[in-house]
Amino acid sequence: MKLRSFSRFFVEASQSLRRNILMTIASIATIALTLFVCGVFSVIVLNINKFANDIESTVEIQAFLEEDLPAETASALVTSIREIDGVDDVTFISKEEALANMATQLEETPETLLSSLGRNPLPDSYMVTADSADDVAPVAEKLEALDGVAEAQYGDDTVDNLFQMLKWIRYFGIALILFLVVASIVIVAFNIKVTVASRKSEIIIMRYVGASNWYIRWPFCIAGMVMGLFGGIIAVALLYGAYTLFIDQFSSVLVFMSLVRVNTDFFYIFGFMLLFGVLLGSAGSLLSLNVYLKERAKKQ
């Protein structure tokens, strides 16, 4: 296909978009709506991810050391712990610090606590955080296997259940987006099919005159891309406006989770929406054209 043909395609495309202005508006609106819903779910998934990560980063595994472990052995353990896969951060907590922490929690001074207990019952320990929630259990297991570690403890069933739930919410969001993608391609294809059907005789004439299939396709394809791009721009603007408004109104109410600000992740979503709009538009027009371009599939 030569370059000069493309300037013709653009003229053809813009003419056909203007001539079928109602169909054009309907297609743009459909694409915009689809992309907006996809965008909303992407933002929800983004927020859930952040929420999950916030929680994950707070889960700590406590590795209690055996009593009367020599100080050198205890401090040497940090290297072995760091070598375990999935370990993010390691902090040593001496038995004195542990007692002080406990005293703070009980709102007493360490001295009074010590005197009422007689002796410090708490062992030295390492506070270990994992890279992700999935790593927590295996890391704890490996910690317990280490020489010098008496026991490794972390969270409880509630935390486990929360992680499980978050995982399913994420899967659900992805599945929903996939479903919407398929649904919107079908809707756009149907929309464009109506336009193409009204031009069926034109397409047949183009073939008689010796136009190649791609020569016929390009103007439709470009028209689809333009509609997709417009739909994408509208959806991005809507999403941006709606989300900034949402943050303004609700971030003070939703105290238990901090909302994602409009950041780089958002620009990926916006970029994806525009790109996807263009793909959606062109895929829709190509799909609906193929019916008429198949060899020997037409009657006079």
Partner: protein, 232 residues
Amino acid sequence: MKMISLKGVSKKYDNGQLALDHVSMEIEAGEFVFLCGASGAGKSTLIRLLFREEVATDGKIIVNGRNLRKIKRRELLRHRRSMGLVFQDYRLLPKKTVFANVAYAMEVTECKRKDIRKRVPEILEVVGLSDKAGSFPSELSGGEQQRVAIARALVNRPAILIADEPTGNLDPQNARELMEVLKRVNDKGTTVVMATHAQDIVDEMRKRVIMLHEGRIIYDEEGGGYHEIALV
């Protein structure tokens, strides 16, 4: 040089209808040939085979040196562009002007704009439509629309012009004018094949007549006339 050659060509449609039955013929370059026969005789089918819109069920078709059975996709496009097609119902693009309709046939071959600007007025002159270049098909008479279709068919200088009942929708006066155009085109060397059942035109032109009946050639004679089938 042979332009069109058919050997034992049969065409059976998917519904079992046998439209052509062992047809053989040869047409030389520069000939003017009428394809005649009653409705359903197989004229349009033969034209569809030549344009390779349909493939023959049996037999061998060679057009302009190309064996249509073995033709490849890319070559098929070239084959179609080497033929100009005209139909009874004109088949113009309704939203394009006369000029744009004719130019479109050049654009699809990715011609230079300069060449298009030069060639389209030339060919509109040939069919006598220079003053209608800016009109839309809906603003033209049937005869004028058909001449636009002929201009479009000829604009790429095809080796063969094929017309399927081009005068079918025209009154006698317009039909006669159209035949004048076809004759001029043929005089300049283009091979013309025209399917028709317009008896008076065939009789008047005294060109080669190939008569089809139920898919078979029953008559093929130089300078023949339509009326003579009655004698067969």
